[in-house]
């Protein structure tokens, strides 16, 4: 397997994963994950297991709960040798039925195999949205 270049890691995080989340595009989001992947929200130690089961259900709940989602202001720490990228970013979400956006300053750690996320760890600066 040829190692993925540096820009692959930045692109899968920003142009595929978060772009998919911000546009409520479930297939684009799930395509970033290995089928056996896990996603853990560290503050509450909540783990969602399996791309097509736990992770998909978590995003269904997120998309149902929010009318607007935006991720930006990224700073990446990318390690091609370890197939990992850790990203700091801002998040704005607007819960359905409200008009006031909520702002978070979050960080994710992504670990990949064969170009897809196998483990994702999420740190949130406020209440856990990834229930």
């Amino acid at each position: 397997m040829i190692a993925k270049p540096y820009e692959y890691y930045v692109d899968i995080v920003t142009k595929r994963y978060f772009h998919g989340v911000d546009n409520f595009d479930m297939p684009m989001v799930l395509d970033c994950f290995d089928k056996d992947a896990s996603l853990t929200e560290v503050t509450s130690m909540t783990t969602h297991q399996g791309r097509d089961t736990g992770i998909r259900m978590m995003f269904l709940r997120l998309f149902h709960a929010q009318s607007r989602i935006w991720h930006g202001n990224f700073v990446h720490t990318c390690d091609v040798d370890e197939e990992s990228i850790c990203s700091q970013f801002s998040v704005e979400v607007t819960p359905r039925g409200t008009s006031k956006p909520l702002r978070y300053e979050n960080a994710n750690r992504f670990y990949l195999k064969n170009g897809r996320f196998t483990e994702v760890f999420v740190y949130m600066s406020g209440e856990n949205l990834l229930k």
Partner: protein, 132 residues
């Protein structure tokens, strides 16, 4: 902010894990402070707390080292971005207070290095912030 960094991959890991965390655990305050530029900052992002400048950082570490009898950082998992002078690491932080009560946190630090020392540290914690 993008900084010019003079450290390679092994040196970035050595700075974060051996020169910084090992000295925090050993309470070698002067050696910890030697890792920072004078105008460095530590941001505990999960608590919206910022310590600006070396004197404020020293005050924070003095309080932290006095509050806890035992400080342990372990189980590091490093992500090293040599081309941009950045390193991130997840780790377990265990602190024992003077009454023998232990607190365990699962944290992640992001370091941005200018030349050969820390310019910025951003900390994301799984629980209550002890770095006040």
């Amino acid at each position: 902010m993008q900084y010019q960094c003079s450290l390679d991959r092994a040196e970035l890991i050595d700075l974060a894990i051996n020169r910084y965390f090992a000295n925090v655990d050993a309470k070698n305050l002067d050696d910890v402070m030697a890792c920072f530029h004078d105008n460095a900052s530590i941001t505990i992002q999960s608590a919206f707390t910022v310590h600006n400048g070396k004197e404020n950082i020293r005050r924070m570490f003095t309080g932290f080292m006095n509050t806890y009898k035992t400080i342990i950082h372990k189980d590091f998992r490093c992500t090293v971005d040599e081309r941009n002078g950045r390193i991130a690491a997840s780790f377990v932080a265990q602190n024992e207070d003077h009454e023998g009560n232990w607190t365990t946190l699962n944290n992640t630090n992001f370091w941005r290095i200018r030349d050969d020392r820390f310019q910025e540290i951003h900390i994301y914690m799984s629980g209550e912030n002890p770095l006040t």
